[in-house]
Symmetry: C2
Subunit: 411 residues, 2 copies
Amino acid sequence: MSMVAEHAKWPKENDIIFSLSERAQAAEKELGKDKVINATIGALMDDNGKLIAMKTVYDQLKNLPNEEISAYASIGGQPAYQEAVKKVCFKGNDPEGYIRVVASPGGSGAIKLAMYNYTNENDVVLVSDWYWSPYGIIGEETKRGVENYALFDESGNFNIDSYSEKFTEILNRQGRIFTIINSPGNNPTGYSLSDEDWDKVLDLAKEAAKDKDKKIVFLVDVAYIDFVRDDDASRKFFKKFGNLPSNILTIVAFSMSKGFTAYGMRMGAAIGISSDEDITEEFYYSLMHSCRANWSNCNRGAMAVLSEIVADDKKYEEYEKEKNSYKDMLLVRANAFVEGAKECGLEILPYRDGFFTSIPCDNPMKACEELAKENLYLVPLKMGLRFAVCAVEESKCKKAPAIIKEVLDRI
Amino acid sequence: MSMVAEHAKWPKENDIIFSLSERAQAAEKELGKDKVINATIGALMDDNGKLIAMKTVYDQLKNLPNEEISAYASIGGQPAYQEAVKKVCFKGNDPEGYIRVVASPGGSGAIKLAMYNYTNENDVVLVSDWYWSPYGIIGEETKRGVENYALFDESGNFNIDSYSEKFTEILNRQGRIFTIINSPGNNPTGYSLSDEDWDKVLDLAKEAAKDKDKKIVFLVDVAYIDFVRDDDASRKFFKKFGNLPSNILTIVAFSMSKGFTAYGMRMGAAIGISSDEDITEEFYYSLMHSCRANWSNCNRGAMAVLSEIVADDKKYEEYEKEKNSYKDMLLVRANAFVEGAKECGLEILPYRDGFFTSIPCDNPMKACEELAKENLYLVPLKMGLRFAVCAVEESKCKKAPAIIKEVLDRI
């Protein structure tokens, strides 16, 4: 007996990351926190394994007038929020052209808005082979598929040949392409495209865009952009989205989750960038229709937190100072992991920025279970394992690679 | 030049309620608040026109540990929240059977989850002719249409004949039906189905459900259930959803927006009720897939507010006391409006509960503009005007009907 419509039948699966995290926490209770490495969680944790909630952010939230939290927000987001999003996202590297912002519940909501409005049923979207699995879930919900290019070539550099091949094939087949690039600080690998990588990607797109019947949409997922080695250098690529042909649209998926430790507040935005004003207007109204039809409007208090912090130089400075202290902490951990991997000879993917690093391996599910026996919990992917340096203190980051190496050699 | 997919092209419309509300606020600034009646806003306002944000709710929010706001929630919602939703929604009138709760961003999110998963493309959903227009927007976004039955018969009673005719026609045509009933305190009319109305609706469904190939889904939108004359009597109908045939599924759309003055926090839930455990399990996993694919998870702080209030008898009592004081305020206003209408002979629809009352008329857009000239702002509907008693103080509620009558007689 079934009541749902045919398209809504899915396997009864619980979230694997959530389940693994629960097992890790149970092990911590039983054995003590020092005996367990829980590298499953995609959030910043302090050295005692406690979730970090930035003081500057939550002081601001708790100082808001109640009415500023209680009232409905505008469908597309409060105007002050839309402006604040551009400021914190671009930090002065605004691309030339027309830009519109639509508020969304987290980065997930922004990706959903973009993908649904810029693809057709049975289209595929192009993502790298190492990718955040919800891209696939967002797609399959409304009958969009995923095709992969190889993110890395044999030297561990961005694989422009693979990207180019898949890009051209899909664009020729569909007449339009929607391609997601999650950089800087790619989840799960920690890779960031260099400016030269971006030039290659955009040269390819510009060449393809000479055929005016082709429509090219870049979804740039910058969820981890506030945790990069160099805030300014890592944002220079935004400039490249200015003055592109009008049949190339860039949509940036912005999220407050990581940069403001606001995961649970569900606040993000889709930022549309085009050289053609009509295209950004169309973007705005199409996405607004989806907002109304999916969640109506977004968390007003969360919007006010961002707007208030950004509007006040002193508050913004204090927030940046606090955030950068956690960024330094993250970098120390990531360096420890990379160093540990080098020392024991564990092959890992090239880490640049962000919360995660990945280890390629065969049979990730089995590796994950074997590692659990060693009290090391991480997340199995299709092609390897994801280790969350954001959630694990330095000394454990240092020793984890040797444990992983030992298990991978054994199985 | 266009970049969006064909299905995503919509007229570039801004929200009419939002625009009218802005015009009303501009008039208040120019002429003074005492000269303007702003009955556009769908939220509780105090007698000075200030948004009401319940102290018990926002004290609780601001007393939460930061981590309880910051952390990601489970996809389907925190377990304590799921339990709290059942408690505040049913208040002891839980239907017999299997019940599962999925968290959603407001009632809108719950309706979206339900409609998308239980209808097919090109299906129509059945709603009354007086209906909240986002039902149509949620549907059209993914190619679902809306068909109407007449909510009232000539005596102003629930029109079971019209409901029955459309219900049967659509069910026979589609093999399944998804029907939304917004009660108690229907938006826009303020009508509430009586227990006898519900019996007639469910007798019809039970008869139709004898054909086991037919699938019948009720979406009961109870957004205004916390603003009814009698909390207990108004919830007795929930019991009727127990022990129904397994091819009748009931989904209750719950919202914290009104009952907790938490509009901007975007927190609600879809509650699935069935006599068949498989059906509620299927409900849970299908809706969870949609959650992941649309917004990932919901506002954790808002969930914690509800859970903490419900878990503490003293807090719950204080919240109820505060809420009931506003309910009393609302009833006084609604009575004043109904009384005013009677005195001047303005025909209004039968008001029972909730935030709104409606006035049937020809050419609502024109009526609305003419009323604006009299500094009375309300919302034009397809078949009349919506007056928000929730937002207008008693003396203005009393005198508004005569102004409306005068304008409707004139145009």
